[in-house]
Assembly symmetry: C2
Homo-oligomer: 358 residues x 2
DNA sequence: TTGTATGCGTTATCAT
DNA sequence: ATGATAACGCATACAA
């Protein structure tokens, strides 16, 4: 095992190249020749095993296949069939743990169904969206799972997806009438607010990334405002859009919030994990104590949430499930399902921790 | 913008299907017909623009291409050329932020070079490794970036990669003599230890995931032991392999460490971010104070590290760079570079924080 | 300089 | 039940 540490100084990679010759992919023609049958027969054996079969021939083919270690070329199959057994996944930002979690679930579900996932990461450059769609499209992916900003929803539908099934995750596109999988934002926000209200907080601030046209952000903000408006008059709530690079702005907003609370501890509702961390940083900078000087609860649970200060309360998204569901919906559509567009909203689950318990 | 919230109850997805017909992919034959030339001419225009060209014809072809919005089918090209402009990336666990960071860098570099990344996630089931390789291989990926356990390095080299270039990231495989990109584990561990020694800690414990045959874990453990052995005799160090689901074991190990330290505060060196969080949990469970009762420094910096307790000291990996480099090395090999296998070790950078400052 | 013909590895449509 | 053959979309050797 100690050998693992060792790295032979240098050694020509000839071994690889000689190996190559001995390991060339065998084609269906090789198998046919080897079994003394025609290519068509081999193809039938592979694809229509249930029908037309002669015991002896089948055995010969099977033997040839295993001996040669034959495995069909998906590219050739895709070319011929028009189907690639590929699914395209476009994410706004792979650095976002949420995207990764969805990716995880989706990839798993796809693989179980014999599909591979082609990933395209926008890296938060939403203008690359249609480029990504086109790239994936040219590889004949059979459908798309989209978790993007959706700047060009119009052009998107028209050209890029080319009529192939699409499933949206977390972010809705205006004018795209397709399956949509997401956290139930309204319920999640409601959980957050009811939790802090029950603990006596009355002065609330929703902190979110700039709303822009991102549906999930807008939904959460709207739900927050609606819920606050319908609460008893002692409850006050505001919404602050925090730019990713403007920590100072957030600090000011927090100060203003505490001023507004006039002695009572206020509470922040964070719209996602990225913002939660930003709030944590701002609170630390102010020298305040989470759960004492200010309450904090956020959407998105994370592995580190329990260990920040007294633990950060959160509403966890069922991310794996979201990905799984997205993939399954897409695969159904690929399979020909033609029902009206569905709208799957999954509930979050509350994880109460010290940051909201005075 | 408020419209984004609205979801039309239901509406047949006919628009998509009718769209499909009008948006069928045009082939090279369509372009040829449209321009009144042969397919070969179009192909030449596309691939060998610099050579053979008749001004008028070229213009006609160009017009036809743009008008039809023609874009070549990579699958067909791959079938013909034997090259797919695809790179396969196999990761042990996409849930690991390290894997994601590498993925990020690699995908970026690949895309810049006109390559797309096919991702295969092992989900920590290392026995699926060869399956992943085969899947990717059948899609004619031109090379592999591997960040895996590497259980079957033998069978791997022989069959799965089929002589295509391979670059290893973070984890070395026994018997695979290929380019290797990684953090300089020895230097990173040295940074950790020198940091805590300089702050007066003398009783050290390295906590790592079970070593198994994972080269990076083994290297870090070996470096730790070597460095401790070469230190002055007042320094004592031990290594603890913490199973992912055995929090109790870690708690005991920490207790033993503090006993060994006999009054002086001991320090834990964590081998990666996952373990760091586990240590944080154990310390919290024990009711100890980071930086006071016990020191903690770990390999891998994270966005949340500054906000756990007094902040967790860390040695940050240049993850984006690692991914970039891995991709660039691979692309060089794909381009035909035939030098001996390279060994790229990148330095980590120390982020001192409160968890080590008594 | 341009067109014709062939093949990449499959599957599907004919025959037999 | 099995075999010959065309076609998927493209690149290229060869012919013109």
């Amino acid at each position: 095992m100690a050998l693992l540490f060792m790295r032979p100084g240098c050694c020509l990679s000839d071994s690889l190249h000689t190996m190559k010759k001995s390991t060339v992919r065998s084609t269906i023609a090789d198998v046919a020749r080897h079994a003394g049958v025609s290519k068509a027969t081999v193809s039938r054996f592979l694809n229509h095993r249930e029908t037309l079969l002669s015991p002896q021939i089948a055995a010969r083919v099977e033997a040839a296949v295993t001996e040669l270690g034959y495995v069909p070329s998906p590219m050739a199959q895709a070319l011929k069939r028009g189907r690639s057994r590929l699914v395209g996944l476009v994410v706004a930002d792979i650095a976002n743990p949420y995207s990764v979690a969805v990716l995880r679930g989706a990839e798993h579900a796809c693989r179980q169904a014999g599909y591979l996932v082609m990933l395209f990461n926008l890296g938060n450059e939403s203008e690359r969206e249609s480029a990504g769609l086109r790239a994936l499209s040219s590889y004949k992916v059979e459908g798309f799972i989209l978790n993007t900003m959706g700047h060009d929803a119009g052009a998107l539908l028209e050209t890029a997806t080319q009529g192939r099934p699409v499933v949206l995750v977390d972010r809705l596109h205006r004018g795209l009438d397709v399956d949509f999988i997401s956290l139930d934002n309204q319920q999640a926000i409601q959980q957050c607010i009811e939790h802090v209200l029950a603990l006596g907080y009355r002065d609330l601030l929703l902190v979110t990334e700039p709303l822009g046209i991102v549906s999930s952000r807008l939904e959460r903000a709207r739900a927050f405002e609606a819920f606050v408006a319908s609460s008893e008059s002692s409850v006050s709530g505001q919404c602050f859009e925090s730019a990713i690079d403007d920590d100072a702005g957030l600090v000011e907003a927090l100060k203003a919030l505490r001023l507004r609370a006039a002695g009572r501890p206020p509470a922040v509702v964070s719209a996602n994990a990225v913002i939660t961390l930003q709030v944590v940083a701002a609170v630390a900078q102010l020298g305040w104590q989470l759960g004492k000087d200010i309450g904090l609860i956020g959407i998105d649970d994370t592995p580190w949430a329990p260990y920040i200060g007294p633990g950060i309360s959160a509403v966890a998204q069922p991310t794996d499930q979201l990905g799984h569901l997205a993939a399954r919906c897409l695969l159904q559509r690929i399979g020909g399902l033609d029902t009206p567009a569905r709208n799957l909203l999954l509930p979050g689950s509350l994880k109460p921790r010290g940051s909201t318990i005075p």
